[in-house]
Symmetry: C2
Subunit: 198 residues, 2 copies
C-alpha cells in the first residue's frame, strides 16, 4: 500500500489506544470501502471535540462550558463531594443512580514509579474546592489498585487535616458472587468491613 | 457524560470495526486528555483519505491516481495477473517479495448468503482486464474460506472458457509446523498437492 494518504490514515489510527497496525489497516480499509460518510463524520467529531471540550473549573471533568452541567445542577447535594480518577469512573458511578452529590475528577492518580506526584493530579485544586464551607463529606472513590489506594491514603490525610469527614467506597464481595470463587484478599476485606443488620 | 460533542465523538468512534462502546469511550478520553494533536491529525487524515482516495481503473485497488503505481510500474511482469479479495491481501502478498506480476483486486468475494453475487465483485471488469492480449496466467489468490474457494471456482471457469491459463495458490502445511498439530483437511490437501523434488 504505497498511497501516501492511506499510509497517513493508518499511522493516525495507530495512535488510538489498543489499536495496532493490523487493526488500523482494517479500520482504514473498512472506512474507505464501506463507510466514507462515517470517516467524514468521525473527522468532524474529532475536530469539534478537540477544539471545543475543556475542563470544568469546579470539578475538572470534561466540559464544553466553564462550569459543567453536573456542577450547575441545583438538585445535586453540594454537601457531598465524590473524588474519582477519571470521567469514565464518574460515568460508571452516575449509572448506578444511587449518588446525588457532586464530583471532583482528579484526571489521574498518584503513580510514583512514572513520576506522577501530588502536583500532577488535582490535589491543590481539590483542597481549594473543599474549602467552600458547604462540602461536609468527601467520598474517596479512586480505584482499588495499589496506585488508587495510595492516592486515597494521601488525599485522606490532607483532607482530614482540614477537618473534613472523609469516607471510602467499601471493598467486599461483588454482587452475585459465590464466596468460594472470591479471592482471599477481597474476602478478608469483606469480613473486616462487615456491617450490622437491622 | 452529557457533553454533546463528547457523545458525538464516542458515537463516531463506535462505527470503526471492532470498537465497542467501552473502547470508544477509552479512545475519546485518551485523545482529549493526552493527545489532542493526535485527534486533529486523525481528523485531517480521515478527511484527506475519504476525499482523495479512489480506485485504480486497471486493478481496482485503493489509489489516489486514476492508475495506481503498481499498474504503472514498468518493472512488473504484465503477463501474470494475481486476483486477490482485498488491498490487505495484496499488501500481504507484496510483503513476501516473491511476486513481480500485476494484481486485480476484487474488493470482496462471492457471499451468496448475503446476496453478494458475481455482479457485486469485479468479475466483468476482470474479464475485460484479462482480454488485453498480454495477460497469460491468472493466479487466483482469493482466501481458502468456503466463500473464497467458491469465488475461485467461479472465476476459474469463466477465465478458462476464455483460453487463459489459471492457477491457484497451493494449500499445504504452514511453514514451521509440526505435522501432528496440523488439521486433517490441510494435511489431506498437502498430500494431494505434493510435488516432485529435483
Ligand atoms: Zn463540574
Ligand atoms: Zn492498479
Amino acid at each position: 500500500m504505497s498511497e501516501a494518504s492511506l499510509e497517513a490514515l493508518i499511522d493516525a489510527l495507530r495512535r488510538l489506544p489498543g489499536v495496532g497496525v493490523k487493526s488500523a489497516q482494517r479500520m482504514a480499509f473498512h472506512l474507505l470501502q464501506h463507510d466514507r460518510d462515517g470517516a467524514l463524520r468521525l473527522a468532524g467529531a474529532l475536530r469539534a471535540a478537540a477544539e471545543g471540550i475543556g475542563h470544568c473549573q469546579r470539578c475538572h471533568t470534561f466540559s464544553e462550558a466553564q462550569i459543567c452541567r453536573t456542577c450547575l445542577d441545583p438538585a445535586r447535594d453540594a454537601r457531598q463531594l465524590m473524588v474519582v480518577e477519571t470521567p469514565a469512573d464518574q460515568a460508571a458511578l452516575e449509572r448506578t443512580g444511587s449518588y446525588r452529590g457532586l464530583y471532583f475528577v482528579l484526571m489521574g492518580r498518584l503513580r510514583p514509579l512514572d513520576g506522577i506526584g501530588l502536583a500532577d493530579i488535582g490535589v491543590h485544586p481539590l483542597l481549594e474546592r473543599t474549602a467552600d464551607g458547604i462540602v461536609q463529606e468527601v467520598i474517596l472513590a479512586t480505584g482499588f489498585s495499589a496506585e488508587g489506594e495510595a492516592t486515597a491514603h494521601v488525599l485522606s490525610q490532607a483532607l482530614k487535616a482540614r477537618g473534613l469527614s472523609v469516607t471510602r467506597l467499601a471493598r467486599g464481595v461483588p454482587a452475585g458472587s459465590e464466596l468460594e470463587y472470591v479471592d482471599l484478599s477481597t474476602l478478608a476485606h469483606a469480613l473486616h468491613d462487615r456491617h450490622g443488620l437491622g
